[in-house]
Structures are given as structure tokens and as C-alpha cells.
């Protein structure tokens, strides 16, 4: 077990820069999740950590040892692949013991460790089968088993849950978390699913276009997103965005949304500047509140325990889709997520309200959060 130290790692293919100045300090035993949309460089970073790809510049240290130019096999790490990469011609037992065999470990020792790992993962009855004869979830466990028998200094996981169905994914997510607690091995986990990131991570590294957007623990990530991208990426449904210009018609700076002047807690100097206001769907409530507005829902979706109310945004408040990471929905609609709503919220005009303190403020040009 060991900490991982990544310093100024970059990767470019010719002119194309896929990783820009990646620096990260992972402490011993930490579970860090790299998350971001596809093509953001998260898998590339993981491959560089594993030694499967070469970094264009920068250094990587695992457990204080400089591994930047070491072969993958010499880094003392184990990796779980998206498609599990189980060898079809070997039994589960041999698949799990492969790494140890390649290192010339004593066969009885291999057998002992494989059996032990199989017990931990509950696959000890499958040891003599071929991967072909296993279900998706079982294969996934075997792939995990292959990583843990090595007892490496760190685990690298590349979207290990993306080939499982939704139900199994939730289950396995919890199991991986539990396994991490039990073994306490430093883990780097790559995913494009923000829910996986939120539920499993000690710390999340959110990336876009090869650059780190924010590094924080899940709660901070949710409560204090550093910029518009993070705000939109974390949370489901995503944060609602509204464009407004700060005015000083009243005693304090305010923004006009849905035809109401909503006071903002920002200095007077912001007057006249364009801002983007972010409001999480779950922070909109049914019925009157601090800021109340009457709307005509365009669509109401019921999930049983909660209702999603889609509301058209006035033209003056619409944000160009390009600003929010290309999600077209947000341009002209906001979603209110009403938890345990009363039955009447189905048709006709309704009253929605929110607390202005819940608003997130972003600079319209830099997209950075205004604190």
C-alpha cells in the first residue's frame, strides 16, 4: 500500500493535447475517482499510471518510488479492465493466479492466495470453470479477484461496472466500496458515471478536455462546484441554469428571473454584469416560499416517490446550450424535483418556490463560480 504522487503529467499526440498538466496527490488507502465525459482524458491518465501509455512529460511516484519510466509489471499495481480481460483459455483459478505465476511465485502459495481471494469475493465454487461459463457479475468478481491476489500497492480500475446491468451495478458498487474498506488499498477508479463517483469516492477528480476542473470530496463537489461544468455534471437531474443581468433596482444587487427580482448576496460592484444562476432541481419546492413564482408546467413525470416538473424558462433567462456543456435540455427548460409532492401537482398552473440562498452564481464569461 502506498500513496500516489502525480506531478505535472501531460500527454499529447502530435498537436492534440489530451492531458494538460495533471497533478494529484493521493494518500495511502484513499479511494479517488476520476470522472468526466468521454474523451476528457481520464482513461489516458489511468493508462499512464499503469504504464501502458507513456506520459509526454511529468513524473509519477508510487509509494515514494519514481515509476515514470518503469514497465507496467514493475510498478506493483493491479488493474481491472472494463471488459475484464479474462483469458478465455484459462480457468478462473489460473486467470486469478496468472500475475503471480508470471512473477514466479511458488505454486502452493499461488493456490493459497487464489483460494483466499475467491472466498472473499464469493467465487470459490467457480474456480475450475472457464470465464465463458460465468455470468457478467461473476466475471466482474473474478477480474477483481485477479487484482487482489497480487496484493499490489494500488488498484487501478477502468470503468469496471459499465458492462453490468443497472441493478447489478448498484450492488457491485457497494461491494467494491466494502472491499476497499476491508483491504485499505489505494484505489484509482475511472468512470463516466457521476453517481458511481459520488457514492464510492473519498475524493473526486472531475475532468474535461484533459484538464482537471475540480478536486474535492463528494459533498463539497455537490455543494460548492468550482465552475459551471462541475455544477452541471454532478447531480441527477443536473443543475438548472438561468441567465440574468445583475441590477441594482432595489436596495441590494438582484437578478430578474421568472419576472421577479431575486436578491443576490454579492457586492454592488457586480451591477450590470451578466451572471448564470444555478439552482438544483431538488431545491425547488412546491407551494409558497422565499421566492415564489407561478408557472405552467410543460410536463410532469412521476417516479412514485418524487415528481419531476418541467418548466419553460422565459427567453431572457435562457442560457445558450454551448455554455453548459452541450446539454440541450437546459437551454429552455428547468426541472423541479419535488419529493413527496401532494397529489394535486399534475395539471394546471402551480406555485413553485426556492430559497435564494440555494442559488449558485457563475460568471457568464469565465464560467467560474462567484463566491
Amino acid at each position: 500500500m502506498a500513496g500516489i504522487h502525480i506531478e505535472n503529467v501531460t500527454k499529447s499526440y502530435g498537436q492534440l493535447s489530451v492531458l494538460k498538466n495533471f497533478s494529484l496527490e493521493v494518500s495511502d488507502g484513499e479511494f479517488v475517482v476520476f470522472v468526466g465525459p468521454s474523451g476528457c482524458g481520464k482513461s489516458t491518465m489511468l493508462k499512464i499510471l499503469a504504464g501502458l501509455e507513456e506520459a509526454s512529460s511529468g513524473t509519477i511516484r508510487i509509494g515514494g518510488r519514481d515509476v515514470t519510466d518503469l514497465a507496467p509489471g514493475d510498478r506493483d499495481i493491479a488493474m481491472v479492465f472494463q471488459n475484464y480481460a479474462l483469458y478465455p483459455h484459462l480457468t478462473v483459478r489460473k486467470n486469478m493466479g496468472f500475475g503471480l505465476k508470471m512473477r514466479g511465485t511458488d505454486p502452493t502459495e499461488i493456490d493459497k492466495r487464489v483460494t483466499e481471494a475467491a472466498k472473499i469475493l464469493g467465487v470459490d465454487h467457480l474456480l475450475d470453470r472457464r470465464p465463458k461459463a460465468l455470468s457478467g457479475g461473476q466475471r466482474q468478481r473474478v477480474a477483481l479477484g485477479r487484482a487482489i491476489v497480487r496484493e499490489p500497492q494500488a488498484f487501478l480500475m477502468d470503468e469496471p461496472l459499465s458492462n453490468l446491468d443497472a441493478k447489478l451495478r448498484v450492488h457491485t458498487r457497494a461491494e467494491i466500496s466494502a472491499l476497499h474498506k476491508r483491504l485499505g488499498v489505494t484505489t484509482i477508479y475511472v468512470t463516466h458515471d457521476q453517481i458511481e463517483a459520488m457514492t464510492m469516492a473519498d475524493r473526486i477528480v472531475i475532468m474535461k478536455d484533459g484538464a482537471i476542473q475540480q478536486i474535492a470530496d463528494p459533498d463539497t463537489m455537490f455543494k460548492k462546484p468550482a465552475n459551471l461544468f462541475v455544477a452541471g455534471f454532478i447531480g441527477s437531474p443536473g443543475m438548472n441554469f438561468l441567465r440574468a443581468t445583475v441590477n441594482t433596482n432595489g436596495p441590494s444587487p438582484a437578478a430578474r428571473i421568472f419576472g421577479y427580482d431575486v436578491p443576490l448576496r454579492i457586492p454592488q460592484s457586480f451591477a450590470g454584469r451578466e451572471v448564470i444562476l444555478g439552482l438544483r432541481p431538488e431545491h425547488i419546492a412546491a407551494g409558497p416560499g422565499a421566492v415564489t413564482f407561478d408557472v405552467m408546467p410543460r410536463l410532469v413525470e412521476s417516479l412514485g416517490s418524487e415528481k419531476y416538473v418541467y418548466v419553460d424558462v422565459p427567453v431572457e433567462n435562457r442560457v445558450e446550450a454551448a455554455r453548459t456543456g452541450g446539454d440541450e435540455r437546459r437551454a429552455d427548460t428547468i426541472i423541479a424535483r419535488l419529493i413527496n409532492p401532494d397529489e394535486r401537482v399534475t395539471e394546471g398552473p402551480i406555485k413553485l418556490s426556492f430559497d435564494p440562498a440555494r442559488l449558485h452564481l457563475f460568471d457568464a464569461t469565465t464560467q467560474a463560480s462567484i463566491e
Partner: protein, 301 residues
């Protein structure tokens, strides 16, 4: 809708008719040019026929052809030559084919050109290839004699086609040259179907290049390998034109395989009954050999 002419083959209950209809031409053709001659030759092999004619009355049933065959030293000699040829040519085709496939599977500049070069011998017609090799091994003007003398392996020109050992070697070289590209192409296809993550996982597990070859590449290629090996073996077994054009089976029957012997008996000595018997034995050996190979192929993928 439309009555009268035509069957509505789109109806679910008739869909299989279309399948049979589309299969019919191929089945007919195979029946005509493979099954029927096969039956005829089995039939002829049990008769004392010199020149086979379909309008001839049947001769009485006899096993004389087979009795003569199994007591003939020529037959056992041809079998031995064929076996040697199959083993040597298949082995080297496999080694060369796998080697070249591994080479051109790497990413490098001019990879497409290299692949073309590897596949080239396959595209050359057999007879042309043989003529080229016959000239290269010509005793007075041949390239090989010159090369070997320059390199100091031999001090006087070798007459490649009058020495049994040398002639056999030349035939082997020609067949390997002609045969390895097929193995190479098949192996290349097989190599490209191996997921990159198998190698990545093995590298993370600390396997070196040799261990990756032995533990991942070769086992993953096994299914393709088995089929390819059978096809190559059968090709060597039945190939006629290379040997016939190059040596005609000589010298001293040193390159007389079963297929050359069949041809010689049928169209040289016009003993078609006897030749059919050789053909039938060859067929049986081929069937058994390929059954064994397929049966032994691992069922893991």
C-alpha cells in the same frame, strides 16, 4: 393480393423455402462436380478398368486394385514421401506464417506494404512460381548455386534435380514459399481479433514478451491455428502442379507423392481402376487426419 403466378416467399411459414431455393444451385454444382465423380471413382476402384468410359458395361467386382496397391512398394514409398512433405511443409509454413504475421501485426511505417509483400507469393500462380524456382535452382545458370558458392557452402555446382535429397528439398522450399502466406494471412486475422486488453492485463501482471506470446497469443490463436493447419495439410497432400511441373515425381520417385502417383497411373499408364484405388485411400487418409485434428482442437473459445 396477387394471385396466379408466384409463391409468396415472404410468408413466415414459407421462409425456409427461400433458403432451400438459394442453396439449390450450389448443392447441385457440388453434387455434379464432387459427389458424383467421387462415387464413380469409388465404384471404378473396385473394377479392373483401364480407360474409364461411362457407356461401358460394368466390370465384375474385384478387390484386386487394393490388393495390388497395398503390396506395391511404390505406394508405400509415395505414402512416405507424402507424409514427409506434409510434416515438413506444414511445420515451416506454420513457423514462417506465424512469424511474419507477428511482424506485420506491429504498427510501423510501411506496414501495409509489408503485408502486401508477405501475401505476395500466395497471389503468384503455382506454375509460375515453380518456373521461377526451377530457374533459381538450375544447375548451370541458377541463382542458388551462385549464392551458395559465393557463401562458401559448396565448392562445385549442385545438380539440384538429379539428386533425390536435393530435389525433395527444392520441392519443399517451393511449397513452403507458396504456402506460408496463407498461414500468415489467417494468423494475422486471428491476431487482430485478440483484444488489446488481454495484452494490457498481462503487461500489468508483469508478463514479458515471450510469456505474452506463449500464454496469450498462441492459445488465443488455437482455433484459427487448427483450421489453418488442416487446410495447409490438405493442400500439401493433394497439391499436384508444383511437383509435377518441377520434377514430375523424379528423380527415382524421390518426389512422387500420392497425387502424382494417382495421375501417373491414371493418365500415364491408363490404369484408372488402380488410380481410383489410390485416390480413395488418399481420401480416407485425409478425412481421418482432419477429423483427428478437429477433434483435438481445444474447445475453449
Amino acid at each position: 393480393m396477387k394471385s396466379g403466378f408466384g409463391l409468396d416467399l415472404a410468408r413466415p411459414s414459407r421462409r425456409h423455402w427461400l433458403g432451400y431455393l438459394l442453396l439449390a444451385p450450389a448443392v447441385l454444382l457440388i453434387g455434379l462436380i464432387i459427389i458424383y465423380p467421387l462415387i464413380v471413382s469409388v465404384d471404378i476402384s473396385f473394377q479392373n478398368v483401364n480407360i474409364a468410359r461411362l457407356d461401358q458395361p460394368r466390370r465384375p467386382f474385384t478387390t484386386a486394385n487394393y490388393e495390388r496397391l497395398f503390396s506395391s512398394p511404390d505406394f508405400w514409398n509415395a505414402s512416405w514421401i507424402t507424409l514427409k512433405l506434409v510434416v515438413i511443409v506444414s511445420l515451416f509454413c506454420f513457423l514462417l506464417g506465424l512469424g511474419t504475421a507477428l511482424l506485420v501485426n506491429n504498427k510501423f511505417k510501411g506496414q501495409a506494404f509489408a503485408r502486401l509483400l508477405v501475401a505476395l507469393p500466395w497471389a503468384v500462380p503455382e506454375v509460375i512460381a515453380v518456373v521461377i524456382f526451377a530457374w533459381m535452382f538450375d544447375s548451370s545458370f541458377g541463382l542458388m548455386n551462385w549464392v551458395f558458392i559465393k557463401l562458401g557452402f559448396i565448392d562445385t555446382t549442385v545438380n539440384w534435380f538429379s539428386s533425390p535429397v536435393a530435389a525433395f528439398a527444392v520441392v519443399c522450399v517451393t511449397m513452403i514459399w507458396k504456402g506460408y502466406p496463407f498461414v500468415s494471412i489467417m494468423m494475422l486475422a486471428g491476431l487482430q481479433s485478440i483484444p488489446d486488453d488481454f495484452y494490457n492485463a498481462a503487461r500489468v501482471d508483469g508478463a514479458n514478451a515471450w510469456q505474452r506470446l506463449v500464454n496469450i497469443t498462441i492459445p488465443s490463436l488455437m482455433p484459427v491455428l487448427g483450421v489453418t493447419l488442416i487446410l495447409v495439410m490438405l493442400w500439401v497432400f493433394r497439391d499436384f502442379s508444383i511437383i509435377y511441373v518441377m520434377t514430375g515425381g523424379g528423380p527415382l520417385k524421390a518426389t512422387q507423392t500420392l497425387s502424382i502417383m494417382t495421375y501417373e497411373q491414371a493418365f500415364g499408364f491408363f490404369k484408372m481402376g488402380y488410380a481410383s484405388a489410390i485416390g480413395v485411400v488418399t481420401l480416407i487418409v485425409c478425412v481421418i487426419a482432419s477429423r483427428l485434428m478437429i477433434g483435438r482442437a481445444p474447445d475453449n473459445i
